[in-house]
């Protein structure tokens, strides 16, 4: 599979520095696709060229590949962690892989490309900053490309990097690249939620993955790794309204902290600073931030996605489930939600069915009032007549909750605009929703 993937040549890191390590940004990206697209080759290439494949890992998969009678070292085995996956030669779940360069830390959420693993893609995409969409240069845009793009758009992954792979098999021609780019924009142009970047690559040969290609002088853009290192991520978190769902009330009531009370949680948008005026929901009461703590360290300012605790000036009754916001950045309060839902369970969605809805740090009962349409994820068309929502289906649904919720639309905030549905009888997570 890899011609130059020689065990004796596994590069060794020798430029490591601890300085600033803990402050490094973390980028999460998804990769979806089938074995044939060369996705595993691409991931293997990223890990290999960034010196993140270990000798014993390589040895283990080499031994595995040999045992299975494959003529090459199958890098897919790096991510196929479960026996069933290796036996069937497919990836069942989301596989997480980690690597770092001196500039950034990365988490890869790798998922299968088949339509029956839509829920895995949705899961991996939910926290991703970037989606890598892989296209085989010989095939161009296919159904799978559109489906993956749709999911990335639905989940509002901020940046898409479209890698047109196997350029070596089309003689590295610029015309092939341009045509595919045009075809892609033709269908993706109407989807929103992200920006798109195109890179011509050869994962097998290494062109433009980590090293600049010597075969495509017509391409003036960055390599994939450079793009991953430089694409801005903090903006995605920090712009937007300030949102702080309270998870826990800290009240030590001991000698050292007798009257101390703070509200702990993870900032889900924007920033919070000492002295700022805030409003607590649902009570609506206003107060000021007295202090912001990261552990025991006091900060002037904290931003998404930090986990902190906030001390307020006034003694207001606040509990888990409440949300602290800025007065001039209100949240919508409602008991009726118009949502896009991805169904995750075998048992079908029931119209008028009752479920538990978990949103931020609150849980309320809800009922499915209406199924507006199902999305045909192969054609990307809405089907209003189709009301059967089963495993891996995506549908537009209206939900009524038994208690009011403070929400944002998913396009404004991926945390306060999302929720999961839980089946009370089985306790399993049956649906993932995004508020329109």
């Amino acid at each position: 599979m890899y011609k130059d993937f020689d065990q004796n040549k596994i590069p060794v890191k020798n430029d490591f520095s601890s300085e600033g390590y803990l402050d490094m940004e973390l980028l999460r990206f998804t990769t979806a696709g089938s074995v044939d697209d060369g996705k595993s080759t691409l991931i293997g290439r990223l890990l290999y060229d960034s010196k993140s494949i270990f000798e014993d890992q390589y040895e283990a998969i080499r031994a595995s590949s040999e045992k299975r009678g494959e003529g090459y070292v199958n890098l897919a085995l790096l991510t196929d962690g479960l026996r069933a996956e290796r036996e069937q030669g497919i990836t069942i779940d989301v596989a997480y892989r980690y690597f770092a360069t001196p500039k950034r830390k990365f988490i890869i959420a790798d998922t299968p490309g088949h339509i029956q693993y839509t829920r895995n893609m949705v899961t991996g995409a939910s926290t991703a900053n970037v989606a890598i969409i892989l296209i085989d240069a010989r095939k161009g845009v296919i159904e799978q490309t559109k489906r993956h793009t749709y999911i990335a758009s639905l989940l509002r992954i901020p940046h898409l990097i479209i890698c047109i792979n196997k350029m070596d098999l089309v003689e590295f021609q610029a015309t092939v690249f341009e045509k595919i780019r045009k075809d892609y924009e033709a269908f993706a142009g109407r989807l929103e939620g992200n920006d798109r970047h195109f890179i011509p690559i050869s994962a097998l040969k290494g062109d433009n993955v980590v090293d600049v290609s010597q075969n495509m002088n017509w391409y003036k853009g960055p390599t994939l790794l450079t793009m991953l290192e430089e694409i801005p991520i903090s903006d995605d978190y920090q712009k937007g309204s300030a949102r702080f769902p309270v998870q826990y009330v800290i009240r030590p009531m001991n000698e050292a902290y007798h009257d101390f009370r703070s509200y702990a949680g993870r900032i889900s948008g924007g920033t919070f600073s000492k002295g700022e005026e805030v409003r607590v929901l649902p009570s609506g009461l206003k107060t000021k931030i007295k202090a912001v703590f990261l552990g025991e360290e006091e900060l002037e300012k904290a931003f998404s996605p930090m986990s902190i605790s906030i001390v307020l000036e006034d003694d207001i009754d606040i509990s888990r489930g409440d949300i602290i916001v800025k007065a001039e950045e209100p949240m919508v309060v409602t008991q009726e939600l118009d949502v896009m839902l991805c169904w995750m369970a075998e048992k079908k969605l029931e119209l008028q069915g009752k479920y538990l809805l978990r949103h931020a740090s609150r849980e309320v009962r809800c009922v499915i009032k209406e199924i507006k349409y199902k999305v045909n994820i192969s054609t990307l068309e809405n089907e209003p007549e189709n009301k059967t929502v089963g495993l891996n289906d995506i549908a537009r649904v209206v939900i009524k909750t038994t208690a009011p919720l403070f929400i944002d639309s998913y396009s404004q905030n991926r945390i306060t605009g999302s929720f999961i549905l839980i089946d009370e009888g089985t306790n399993i997570t049956v649906g993932a929703g995004m508020i329109s």
Binding site: S18, F54, T79, L82, R97, R266, S418, F419
Partner: protein, 195 residues
């Protein structure tokens, strides 16, 4: 001679959880450690027998973790799932956390078997042609004495350990013999109730 003590560990763990009726047991397992752990959730659901069923785990989207369970069931929780080995060492360095000396270089009676440096102990019987020799080693990962290999090292400070970890060519658990017993060794142990 080739027995693993994992079966002993798991039984005790499972019994303790059942007896003390824990809702959750928090562990330090990380996804980058091992291929079955790479598939784990933050909240790993376990049935009444502590069994891990990879097909029965809940999807975890955004920050939403579903910790609902029936009587007798519990969760294994892994808060540092997304931390890498390097992250852990950097955190130890930054927070000045004291750690056992076994992680740093020391002299020890060892023997080598199948390329692995074992600590000489009453728990492992030597084979006829195996010799005890003094070596300068440290342990990169701590498992049961009967099945954890040491690495040759002179690293005596955290900074030196970190440099070693940064430039190493072998994974952290590379010396954990119990992971190597079969391709699905960890997966099978988890199904029987291990972390």
């Amino acid at each position: 001679m080739n027995a693993s003590r994992n079966a002993l560990q798991t039984t005790t763990l499972v019994d303790a959880i059942q007896e003390l009726k824990f809702d959750a047991a928090i562990g330090g397992a990380r996804r980058d450690e091992e291929k079955a752990r790479a598939k784990e959730r933050f909240f790993s659901h376990r049935d009444e027998f502590s069994q891990w069923d990879p097909k029965n785990q809940r999807p975890e989207l955004w920050n939403l973790l579903n910790g609902r369970k029936s009587l007798g069931e519990h969760f294994r929780v892994f808060p540092i799932s997304n931390w890498t080995e390097m992250d852990v060492w950097q955190y130890i360095l930054s927070e000045k956390i004291p750690i056992p000396s076994i992680y740093f270089t020391h002299e020890r009676d060892c023997f080598v078997r199948d390329g692995v440096i074992y600590a000489h102990s009453p728990f492992v019987q030597l084979k006829p042609n195996e010799k005890i020799e003094k070596r300068t080693v440290r342990f990169r990962t701590i498992g049961d004495m009967s099945c954890t290999g040491a690495v040759t090292s002179e690293a005596s400070t955290l900074e030196e350990v970190i440099n070693e970890v940064a430039s190493t060519r072998v994974t952290e658990r590379g010396s954990r013999i119990d992971d190597k017993r079969s391709e699905a060794a960890m997966e099978d142990r988890k199904k029987a109730g291990y972390f």
